[in-house]
């Protein structure tokens, strides 16, 4: 039996684009309440290598979101719209209809809804009433890769079936404006909003995209403090340690080698690397740890610059860009890799 395939990747960005200068102008007022040298904060904010972000709401509407209730209600509305758009894009690219979906996996870490967004999309998209649903909250940035891996597991178990993986991350709606710590100011420069969807089909279905011959989860013991959320009355407060690039640099080379070794492959066989756009230092850590030639992560760098870190949606955006470019040839291999709170990594082997 053939391995599952990624038939298509769809993407959707909110229509409200703000360049970094506009965002800084909006945020500076909050910084000025506690900080003296605003130029230094602006430098830190700019150092994340992002030119601008797409926002779930028009920038003027964020001011009124002064409680978790309001932010999360806005999240639910926007997540549904953006999730629908990304799902429809993926289905159209795969030449499928909503009724063809047997299982929907929904990943997010930026908002909460019950019934979950996948349930609401059953109604919106017109998915079948026997569609299986798996909403996954909390994997953070790794969830795009982990979701792809879990969808592939499912498609391996049910080779005649089709899974829709949807990631919606609206990071702007989690921003704690009152938290003017340097860590939060840097985070507020990095994260953007977006949704991505992938169609993963079992080996008995017609395949048009790369296959997923193998995946690997890696957990790093005792690194819980490296990344995550602190849940506070006003919502989700970011925990983002500068140790993240160090953890990536220390582990990812060895983990990738062990994973590939199990497939009787070596790094030299990898033609395409789809790396999570964690930030400039995370991408540099990937480049150093995997000893990549210049330009190997250009699609990740470009995605980071143009839309920011979209958390779990990022790797799917980069994969979508790679598929659109139609540069991968039959016989070529790729590795999709992301890391997230745990701390953990998820590796997905792709074969064209």
């Amino acid at each position: 039996m053939d391995a599952p395939s990624v038939a298509a990747v769809g993407r959707a960005l909110p229509k409200h684009y703000a360049d970094q200068a506009t965002l800084i102008a909006a945020l500076k007022r909050h910084w000025a309440r506690r900080h003296f040298n605003l130029d230094r904060l602006e430098e830190l904010h700019r150092a994340v290598g992002v030119d601008g972000r797409y926002l779930a709401l028009p920038i003027a509407e964020y001011e009124a979101l002064d409680s978790f209730e309001k932010s999360n209600a806005a999240w639910t509305r926007a997540a549904l719209d953006l999730g629908e758009a990304a799902s429809r894009d993926a289905l159209a690219r795969a030449g499928l209809q909503p009724r063809d979906v047997d299982h929907i996996f929904f990943v997010t870490v930026t908002g909460l809804a019950t019934p979950s967004i996948d349930a609401r999309l059953v109604n919106r998209l017109g998915l079948r009433s026997d569609v299986k649903r798996t909403p996954i909250f909390g994997l953070g940035c790794v969830a795009g890769a982990a979701g792809l891996a879990r969808a592939a597991d499912y498609a391996r178990a049910f080779p005649g079936e089709t899974a829709l993986l949807l990631s919606v991350e609206l990071c702007s709606l989690t921003l704690q404006r009152e938290d003017v710590s340097v860590a939060n100011i840097i985070a507020s420069g990095l994260f953007g909003d977006g949704a991505a969807a992938a169609i993963v089909r079992g080996g008995a279905c017609a395949a048009s995209g790369p296959r997923v011959p193998a995946t690997r989860s890696v957990f790093y013991p005792d690194t819980e403090d490296v990344m995550g959320w602190d849940f506070v009355d006003s919502g989700f407060k970011v925990v983002l340690s500068p140790r993240v690039p160090e953890v990536v640099r220390a582990h990812i080379g060895r983990d990738v080698d062990a994973f590939l070794d199990g497939q009787r492959l070596t790094r030299a066989r990898l033609r395409h690397i789809i790396a999570h756009t964690g930030g400039p230092k995370v991408l540099q850590a990937f480049e150093a740890a995997l000893d990549l030639p210049p330009g190997a992560l250009e699609r990740s760098w470009h995605s980071l610059r143009t839309v920011g870190n979209l958390s779990s949606a990022s790797v799917l955006f980069v994969l979508g860009d790679l598929l659109d470019a139609r540069v991968a040839r039959p016989g070529e291999l790729g590795l999709l890799a992301a890391m997230g709170p745990g701390f953990c990594a998820e590796l997905v082997l792709l074969a064209w």
């Binding site: 900080h35 003296f36 040298n37 230094r40 904060l41 340097v182």
Partner: protein, 90 residues
Amino acid sequence: MVTELSQREREVLDGLRHIAAEQLSGAAELGPDDDLAATLELDSLTRATLVVAVEDRFRVMLDDDALERVRTAADLCRLVARAETETFAR
């Protein structure tokens, strides 16, 4: 030999100890000749946090090139005291 600090520089050192205790990992016993990066276990983020906190507390803008040359607590105290004088002169 311990570096001699002026009255103002000693006050700045007290301020640094407060910042270290409140915003960085411990080391409230910071001495003038202690290496800042080693004593406060500074990484890129905590280093930026220290600089921002110092600028907030003493209401000065520190020059990036001069900051690059700072090694010890006394170096930073002198830089802050000088920046205060320059700010006052302006």
